[in-house]
């Protein structure tokens, strides 16, 4: 449980951090809250030769409203997400999901940027970001670009981020009228990753669902955006039949591994149960229930 040797860097700016990353290439690794990376280093599953700590970088810790959209700096901690009443009012699913992540100690250090950049299908925020149709802002030696959360995840711990890029911010579109959000997570205990979890964001417009998004956590090798499930809800009254169709479509794209929490069949069933509960809750919230 002791990491291998590494060199520690503490840049003061994004540019400095990017140039360190560029210099050290594959041997370099960004350190945010450390609550995913350091456990892996202790088990020597990760042995970065250069650790580039972002905690001294200015300007990455912020929550702001920009033309109705929400901009969150990558180094904003999960605890800060929970603490912000403004954020909870604008985008309640963030607090709801963050409270289901780990425990208060972990959330005090763990960052929202680290949670989405990590690429672990067990992280909760990626599915939430997919459901919200958020985008991620990346800065590399060639400048800045923005990628949709739904396009970001490629495999276990593999994302569309280039090795020399840093995630600087997350952008969440404004919440329109009639939008309901819900995150339902089945887990055994505080500090556990999801056995199955579902994020649902849907908009009800006079009894009809005008827009819906369903995304799933820990049910495949990446977080999953459930496109067919989302489509199954759109244009319906989100009645029993529509929910059933959405649940079936969501379960269909899951491909979880068996683990000590249960066999594949259980985790897929629970994907269905969580999806159903999240849809029902989001719908009730959308209609003021």
């Amino acid at each position: 449980m002791i990491p291998a040797n590494f060199e520690y860097h503490r840049p003061g700016s994004v540019d400095e951090a990017v140039s360190l990353l560029t210099e050290h290439g594959e041997d370099g690794r960004v350190l945010a809250g450390g609550h995913s990376l350091i456990p892996m280093m202790k088990l020597r599953l990760a042995e970065p030769a250069h650790l580039i700590d972002l905690n001294g970088v200015e300007g990455l810790r912020s929550i702001a409203e920009v033309e109705g959209a929400i901009h969150i700096g990558a180094m904003t901690t999960q605890a800060e997400i929970i603490a912000s009443d403004d954020l909870a009012a604008r985008c309640p699913i963030l607090r709801e999901a963050a409270e289901l992540i780990a425990d208060p100690q972990v959330r005090a250090c763990g960052t929202i940027g680290g949670n989405v950049a990590n690429g672990d299908p067990g992280n909760d925020m990626p599915a939430v970001m997919m459901a919200l149709d958020a985008s991620f802002v990346l800065r590399g030696p060639g400048g800045e670009r923005s990628l949709a959360a739904r396009e970001f995840y490629e495999g276990p711990f593999e994302t569309a981020r280039d090795d020399d890029e840093i995630l600087t911010a997350l952008r969440i579109p404004a919440r329109g009228a009639g939008q309901g959000q819900a995150y339902c997570k089945l887990k055994r205990k505080v500090g556990d990753y999801a056995i199955a979890a579902a994020a649902v964001v849907l908009t009800m417009d006079g009894g009809t669902c005008s827009q819906a998004a369903v995304a799933l956590t820990n049910l495949g090798i990446t977080p999953l955006y459930a496109e067919a499930a989302s489509a199954a809800l759109t244009g319906t009254a989100v009645d029993a039949a529509a929910i059933e169709a959405a649940v079936e479509a969501a379960v269909a794209i899951t491909d979880p591994a068996a683990d000590l929490h249960g066999p594949v069949v259980y985790r897929r069933r629970m994907a269905g149960v969580m999806t159903r509960r999240a849809i029902e809750t989001a719908r009730a919230r959308a209609t003021g229930g």
Partner: protein
């Protein structure tokens, strides 16, 4: 009469006039007092001194190269690259220990265990080489670079296949032996066969029975989870030839003897110290390879060697618990009165037989399996076998296999009740040993000291509103909802143990206490047990306070240093109160006996004219004439009658005449989500009877802790292996340790039935809640499905297993 004496007496008399008996009793803080724990002041400030806090000049660190395979032959070990790592000092292998004959060590069960794998590895993560380095980082780098060449061998994981003709032979070192320390065996993978009871009479009871029930139950392999893992610092002083061994030992004196036996060092040249220990739960009783390697390392290098387990090392290698495959049958009459019990157990002991129990008891006290019930005849067999798993089989917060026994009988009572359609409380009331039957001789050979099970269960039923709960359950069932009510009315057997049947390495399982009263009226007491969090510094002081009339705040309690305290067998199996506290009380009485002589001299009366009054001797009929203990203490050093030695100190060695039998009545109510299988514990009521209650607050704390561990075991803990022997889930990411959020709310209650043979009537309580809690949870979960003809569900009751039951019954949608 001297001047000083007159003065003292005058003072004493004024005090008596101002303080009532009740006030003086309260000032003592003795037995029955809800005192806060003395030790907590340092623990809650982070000021404890645990083994990893120990730093010594020139100290170095050891860490193990561990086997990735469960069964393999070691073809070669290459140390060269590891030795080239800056800071690495030495790499030890079995070949290095062989000349010292320390590559194997004896176990407490009469078998032997490899210190470093000798030619073969027998379980995953087994210790293969010990790397010693200047710091932990270098040791950790070094272990990555020791190159071990293995030839994999067929693996034996399923104990049910261990005795097959074509099973791979695991222990080649003992394959030709007829026995490995615990009686005859019949296969190279067989360890022992142990039986208890009357087979013929039991067969007869079954032949003529009106009803019989049978159930197979597996009590899964679990691991005690002390917050602090195991570790030690060994320090050999090359000049004096003295070895000091600091470590996480539940039984430091026994460790000293074991170290002497295996190292050849004189016991007088060994000092074993258990500093503050962060929980033990049976995990820290036996000797481990880390201790031996640290000692050898220190002898060879002349520098202190520290070894501290990681959490993964702890869960995957040091002693596990349970792993009993049990089959049980009950015979009964048509009214549910049990007429016979038959139990057969297959015990998976892993690669070496390293359980830690009194040596004559290869299956511990499993034959307490008739529980709280008046069962006329029974027969029990237990077979132990080797598998490619880590060794152990310790008593995880219980007294030697009592947990397995209590789980079995408490579940079986429910199985029988369901078969006959009798209420689960009623079946217990019908079968209980009655209060007037004590002392009760069980058919399997135990003499229960005292108990009143009927009163306890009735009190419990009333407290939870049992009838209403059953009504609510019926309504819920009609609506398709799942609600379960679990009862456990268990009896423990603790306080090992009487010298006639309990020993470790031949040493009888007595306990000891030394008390020294200082001239100015305070005292120090040393006991041979070792607290690992139970609050001994407080509890023992309270007992002694009540016996010698000196306030418990003025009594220092010390344990754990073999240079300082008298020899004792340590703390496990709830033995500290039944055995250690008895020694403390008796030592106190010896102090009082001498104090009486001194008081008689001070008051110029004869001893028989004196009576003890809380904290003083008073002259009978003249209450104003008295000698307070505080003054007697000074007199012991300044003013003695002729013929009496100076000082006021004694030592007592206590050999208990019998075990003690705490009991309880627990009721648990659960609601189950049939869609996810999640269980929510709505209510848990625990009535414990541990005889005389020394510190009710400490008892409550012990009950909370024990119930929480019971909850963990019943609902989630399990050490799982895949078919090639990889241990799965050996970290706290997977292994279930509930937090305050998941832990149910505990309601505690008690009755008091003192032990007739214990000096203060106390019985021990630390483990009861774990013993009784597990079947209470399990019974509640199964009860939720009882109307659907489910009689048993395997532990642990994780959401997916419960969901599986719902799914099989077609009620998960």
């Amino acid at each position: 009469m001297s001047e000083t004496q007159t003065e003292t007496q005058a003072e004493t008399q004024t005090e008596t006039q101002t303080a009532t008996t009740a006030e003086r009793e309260a000032a003592l803080g003795g037995i029955g007092c809800d005192k806060r724990r003395k030790e907590d002041a340092r623990f809650i400030r982070g000021q404890g001194n645990f083994v990893d806090d120990i730093k010594m000049p020139k100290m170095v660190f050891g860490d193990f190269v561990r086997s990735p395979h469960a069964h393999a032959r070691i073809k070669s070990i290459d140390k060269e690259k590891a030795l080239a790592v800056p800071g690495v000092i030495a790499v030890l292998t079995a070949d290095d220990l062989r000349p010292l004959n320390l590559h194997w060590m004896p176990t407490l069960a009469g078998d032997r265990q490899a210190v470093l794998a000798d030619e073969k590895v027998h379980f995953q993560n087994q210790e293969v080489a010990f790397v010693i380095a200047e710091d932990r980082y270098a040791a950790s780098d070094g272990i990555q670079l020791v190159e071990v060449d293995y030839e994999e061998l067929p693996v034996l994981i399923d104990p049910k296949k261990a005795l097959d003709d074509d099973a791979p032979i695991l222990r080649e070192d003992v394959k030709d032996k007829d026995e490995v320390g615990q009686g005859p065996r019949r296969h190279p993978n067989h360890i022992f066969n142990w039986q208890s009871g009357d087979k013929d009479a039991t067969d007869k009871a079954f032949d003529g029975a009106a009803v019989t029930v049978k159930e197979e139950m597996f009590y899964q392999r679990v691991h005690p989870s002390p917050l602090e893992t195991c570790g030690c610092v060994a320090s050999m002083d090359a000049v004096s030839g003295r070895l000091t061994l600091y470590g996480t030992f539940q039984a430091p004196h026994v460790v000293r003897t074991v170290v002497s036996l295996i190292s050849g060092l004189a016991e007088s040249n060994i000092r074993v110290v258990s500093p503050d220990v962060g929980g033990g739960f049976g995990n820290k009783v036996g000797p481990y390879p880390g201790y031996v390697c640290s000692v050898v390392g220190s002898i060879v290098l002349g520098r202190p060697v520290k070894w501290i387990e990681s959490r993964i090392d702890n869960i995957s290698t040091t002693a596990f618990a349970r792993d009993y495959h049990m089959s049980c049958e009950l015979a009964a009459d048509k009214d549910g009165r049990i007429t016979g019990l038959r139990a057969n157990v297959l015990a998976d002991h892993g690669a070496f037989n390293s359980h830690a129990q009194p040596m004559k008891w290869p299956a511990g006290f499993f034959n307490i399996v008739t529980g709280s019930y008046d069962i006329p005849t029974a027969h029990v067999t237990v077979d132990g076998v080797y598998t490619n798993k880590a060794p152990g089989g310790v008593a995880y917060r219980c007294s030697f296999r009592v947990t397995e026994a209590a789980y079995l009988i408490e579940r079986m009572l429910d199985v029988l009740a369901q078969k006959l359609g009798i209420d689960k409380a009623e079946i217990r009331l019908r079968n209980f040993i009655k209060a007037e039957q004590f002392p009760y001789q069980s058919c399997l050979g135990w003499e229960y000291d005292s108990g009143d099970y009927t009163t306890a269960l009735k009190q419990a039923m009333k407290a939870v509103g049992y009838e209403e709960l059953r009504k609510e359950q019926a309504e819920k069932r009609a609506r398709g909802e799942l609600m379960g009510i679990g009862i456990a009315t268990f009896t423990e057997i603790v306080g090992a143990g009487p010298s006639r049947n309990c020993d470790i390495l031949g040493i009888k399982m007595f306990e000891s206490c030394e008390i020294r009263v200082h001239p100015t009226g305070s005292a120090i007491a040393r006991i041979g047990t070792k607290s690992t969090g139970q609050g001994h510094e407080t509890t023992y002081a309270q007992i002694i306070a009540s016996e010698i009339g000196i306030p418990s705040d003025l009594i220092t309690v010390e344990e754990g240093d073999t240079d300082v305290g008298p020899y004792g067998l340590g703390t496990y199996g709830s033995r500290s109160t039944p055995v250690g506290a008895a020694a403390a009380a008796r030592a106190g009485r010896k102090i009082r006996d001498k104090a009486r002589k001194i008081a008689a001299h001070m008051l110029e009366v004869s001893e028989s004219d004196l009576e003890w009054d809380v904290d003083r001797f008073t002259v009978k009929g003249v209450p104003d004439l008295s000698a307070a203990m505080k003054d007697i203490a000074m007199a012991a050093y300044s003013n003695l009658p002729e013929g009496l030695e100076h000082g006021l100190e004694v030592v007592d060695y206590y050999d208990p005449p019998n075990m003690t039998y705490p009991f309880g009545a627990y009721i648990c109510v659960v609601d189950i989500d049939r869609h996810t299988g999640e269980i929510s514990v709505r209510k848990f009521y625990a009535l414990d009877d541990c005889g005389t209650r020394i510190n009710p607050m400490i008892i409550e704390g012990q009950v909370h802790g024990g119930l929480t561990e019971a909850f963990a075991i019943a609902m989630g803990q399990e050490i799982v292996f895949d078919e090639i022997g990889n241990v799965l889930g050996a970290s706290l990411l997977d292994y279930f340790l509930p937090t305050a959020v998941e832990t149910p709310h505990w309601e505690t209650d008690h009755t008091v039935t003192p032990s007739p043979h214990h000096p203060i009537g106390a019985k021990g309580v630390g483990e009861s809640p774990n013993v009784g809690g597990v079947p209470a949870f399990s019974n509640a979960v199964v009860d939720a499905f009882a109307h659907l003809d489910v009689t048993h569900m395997p532990m642990p009751h994780t959401a997916w297993r419960v969901w599986q039951t719902c799914h099989d019954l077609g009620i998960d949608k």
